[in-house]
Symmetry: D3
Subunit: 272 residues, 6 copies
């Protein structure tokens, strides 16, 4: 069967999730254009790669030209000093959306994060588009792109899915990931669903596997058609044998952002 | 085991869904009384059939006498000129409810439609009893019966389930049905559930299979006990290979009523 | 200052509220076209009057031509046998909307009724666009027009305000009206607000004065700009001295539809 | 693997559910301390048992000392005269919480009941923490403990899960249990989930198996991680063949408390 | 005009609010029966007084006989050791409701308290029937009566208004009362409204004047018809000049229960 | 009486609203420190002024030192090219919050804007903390600060009120301002209320006068204590005589952002 896309751009393509997406999205697109700050050495036949920083608007613009959809997973992947957040996540994402507008791209899938809503409590049972409550400058930059993409849908007709990814790792690495884990395969399933859903407009959704403990209600994501297949349960015994139970009075136990809520300001950390 | 009903009336019995219900509801009732505007030729031993128009109140009254429940699936099944909607759907349904009252019928299952709420958007993630937002005169007539049946419950104690059926066809016929499809078997499951649920009062629910993309949240239908078994997924490849992707800016792509939202007024159509 | 409208159509112009609107809306329109089933004898210079039944679609069409807005207050004003409800309220209102479409009318103000939601309880504290819960066939016909006008906004761009009028009388006539009363002056204020509000799309609102006991929350009508000036309080002593306290166990005391909830079926009443 | 608890206290340990919990919770704790008003004769090696009434605060205090969690399933298990409810359920539960505070217990799992919310209707599709609407003095006492445990979390940092148990029996015993049944195994799964969930704060949840008809929406219990495995369906045929259909107009059919809503006052019953 | 009641019972009649109610409710009832634990010395012609403890069920029963409504303001008015809360507030209130049932009383107005919901935060903007979140054993006892009165409405048809009184004092005594104050006159207005509202069923509402800062949304109390006339503003300058600003990080500043949230357990306090 | 603050910092002090605040807030603070990019020439005795750009973090840091609260009204006041929005609104506001943190400032009042939620429709009747739906890059920058201030409250304990100001001008300048106007006096009232409210945590509220047509529901701002005194009504006749009625099909008529929704991208505009 014909693939629905001819060429898709992936930013952050050298990252942990980027590699998975290059492999997992192959059934959906004939070609992939890969962008990262570091070189990608194992380029395949259906791929082309560019090395630059997303803050460089001219390079972004050139990379966006000629693709039909953008998987925007690039930028700083965790808490960083303000200047880096500003350049990589805020200016970089603006460049992506502005290039998308100039080149008539129709759909963008953005890697937002649980840290955009990290101060909500696990027993709040929030919906997957709960209001912003960031736990870090990193989280604030995610809210920025969620807002920016809302504008680009309402005003310029570019559809976006902003996926608040919880914890996407090869396997659950600590007790929190027993409820926050997103398997790589489920991550691919979710991005695929966002790319092919009939209509997403501006959707904020969550990226999480079908774990037993659920920190978030996915009911308002039905129109995406994401059906997770994985769960953290098979890893429970191993994880619990290696790690101590959580302190029941620690905010990191209560809040869905986990240990991010206990971080100080990144600039303070830096000066240490 | 004894069947819960001795005789059930099915209107629209000659239609696409009527045939399925005759077969599928057999475990629930000893006998069926069938009504349609066209003759039914393959009458079985446990069935009797009447041919008349629902706008004929005397025939309706006679057909209702002696049954214990009514499956009201009759009337115009899609957009039609006003006079026909008025006679078949509005007057006809009034006749059904008024006869039900006179003869002490306790429960009615009504085929409402997604077109009663067709202008809601797929990314609104509405509940299955979302407020009226019809996409056609046909849809308006469905809202009329939803309102009428509310009165007959509150005032006269007749329970009703109004099922907003999405797309009930032998198999998904276009890309929209990949999320709107209700398989015939699931349709039978849903009507059976509505007939046997312990208490339905006045319930508005939705008729849809367990498709991957879900345009509607079924949480507030838990008391019905409907568990769909089917999904449109096995038909995806075939449907996608035969049809073009939806235009992302077309209202018919955004709205759950699909192409009905792009219909003009039926009287205009007629005069063409 | 120039008046915002040149010619407004008022249906039901001979009725209790029609007379008030003819007088009260004068500041908003140069001319009025009046329609009723009974003759209006006191025609003023800026008025013209037509006598016909709204079920007569040709007369409706002619009356609608050349106006800029419609105040649709015509039709049966309380519970009536089905045939009369069908003709006056359902067919008549369809004729109004369909003529409005053909002649490019931009805004319709419709007299819906508390009886469209009469079975809601006073301690439910419903919003003014609560879901349909009619207490009579009359109420069902009001829900029909609420649904129909929704279609005409979504599909044909005709704005409508459906006003669920509680009890509009010269003064409160019984204990229920101490909380359900809409003074004539407030009725005019509300219709004026609906006519001149910047954007109403399809709005369902409530018609009630600023009484002390409030059966309904008006928060979601802020965009109408209706500010009631009157209250039933000055009439309390007089009303209470003339009437017995309500029976606390009577559904008519609990439900906002009042004694309508205790009415039997109009056809039964008729045959008595 | 090391068990998460060294010693857990179970009140009501001689009761129907107590026996199941002694067996089912064994994987979670090295030892169990059992409390009931009646003697337990089959004490195992990892158990110790105490016989006293929960209204006896000194015995409670001694029993609580040295445990790490409390499963509080003791007290009158159904409607009883006021004095008994007061002593067993109100004073007894206060003693439990107050001892928990004095001895630094961190988590309590409490057997609340559907009868704390018994007057909600099945077609209300309530959430599992719906507002109090008790159907008996028994239900009022459950609301009392729900409130008390809220205080002990907010003020003293003791986490509680209050489980509104529907009908926990060996198998469904009547038609209502076809939707209200909680299998013993699912009861154990639920209590285990409450004991090991990462953070419960003060949670009110529901205890029910995965029955087809669902009287309650469990979405806001995701943080507990309870996944029921059982259903009443396999028992349907047997139950339906032995029992009459429900009367559709009986409040016991409409309300989730079932026949409790038809009980008179227990003191009246007693004096008969 | 005839007064709507012949005889009303007031419990706690010797208290701060009791004296106000004796005076303020005079227009509504010919006679008052007063109950308190302490003697009332200024009995008027239309009054009779009884001195006993509400825990004494026989005295309660005798006092309730022959009245038409009960204003139940008796019991411990602030945090007290458990035994006193149990006797005065829990057993005492049960005695009131049970006597009301036996003697066919139709309406009870109960003095609940902000301390039934004291842990809600002022910026939560809760509704006046927010879920229980008590800040003291006193608050728990208020939740108990709210639950008990719900049962007596649903099962026995006795209407109740539970008023969550914030701070009813002669004038605002500290900075918190600038938003929590309920003037004595407004208290009388509110109780009068509850007594005469057409239908209250089981209503939980809030008792607060029309202060500038509003810790609670009164929208869902419209059916009561309470219109406050007073405000704490005239006292602001005086209060602010005499008291220090609140500590912005103190829970007593955040929570609507104020300093109650900082109280320890009353039994601890006692043993000091 | 003693003023509650000794020194308050006002950014954007030379702007339209800055001048009003200098005058209007005088009762609340002994001294004011003024900051703007342009010189302020009419400095009063209780004022000191600094001229610099908010993107200059060192100047910001110096200006923040020694104040007790910040009124942050600086930055680009309407749609501007991205680089300017980035510097003035995003980097500038970060500098303000980061300096506030370093210097222990306890409360910040921020001038957010209706343009942070401009694509919501007037008939949506949104709450004043509706979810982000910006109509411009300017609006996106307002959402950025709303998110940033949420972090600074949750993590660093700095309280913020983000005021979504509608249209603050000397008087209503067009038909839209008849519902969007915030008088200068009401603006001062609102900022004063935000400064002195007992607890604001992180509050998003709206800035609008008591106009007749209300595009927003202020119920969830009760804890601020803002009571508007002004209305656009006295200006209606004058405004309507000078301006044409709105086009009912124009998005600028439907959306609360008004003509901002019809703006193109600022960079396109610039290149013209």
């Amino acid at each position: 069967m014909e693939k629905p896309f001819n060429r898709i751009l992936i930013t952050g393509a050298a990252g942990r999730l980027g590699s998975e997406l290059r492999k997992g999205l192959a059934p959906l697109s004939n070609n992939f254009r890969l962008v990262d700050r570091v070189e990608i050495t194992d380029i395949k036949d259906n791929e082309e790669a560019f090395v630059f920083d997303l803050a460089d608007e001219f390079s972004v613009d050139k990379a966006v030209e000629g693709v039909e959809a953008i998987i925007h997973f690039g930028g700083a992947p965790l808490e960083r000093p303000w200047d880096e957040i500003l350049d990589s996540n805020i200016r970089g994402s603006y460049n992506i959306y502005e290039s998308a507008r100039r080149h008539g791209i129709k759909r963008v899938i953005y890697a937002s994060s649980v840290h955009a809503i990290g101060y909500h409590k696990i027993d709040d049972n929030i919906d997957c588009d709960a209001k912003p409550r960031p736990d870090s400058l990193y989280g604030v930059s995610k809210n920025f792109v969620e807002s920016l993409s809302s504008l680009y849908w309402d005003k310029f007709g570019i559809e976006s899915a902003c996926i608040r990814i919880f914890s996407s790792f090869p396997e659950p690495a600590d007790r929190r990931m027993l409820w926050s884990w997103l398997s790589f395969d489920d991550c691919v399933r979710l991005v695929s669903a966002c790319l092919t859903a009939p209509h997403i407009g501006h959707t904020i959704t969550a990226g999480i596997s079908d774990n037993k403990v659920k920190p978030i209600n996915m009911d308002n994501a039905g129109h995406i058609g994401y059906v997770p297949h994985d769960s953290a349960e098979p890893y429970r015994e191993s994880v619990e044998s290696k790690t101590k139970p959580a302190d029941p009075m620690d905010p990191a136990t209560h809040c869905i952002g986990g240990w991010f809520v206990n971080l100080g300001h990144p600039n303070d950390e830096e000066s240490k």
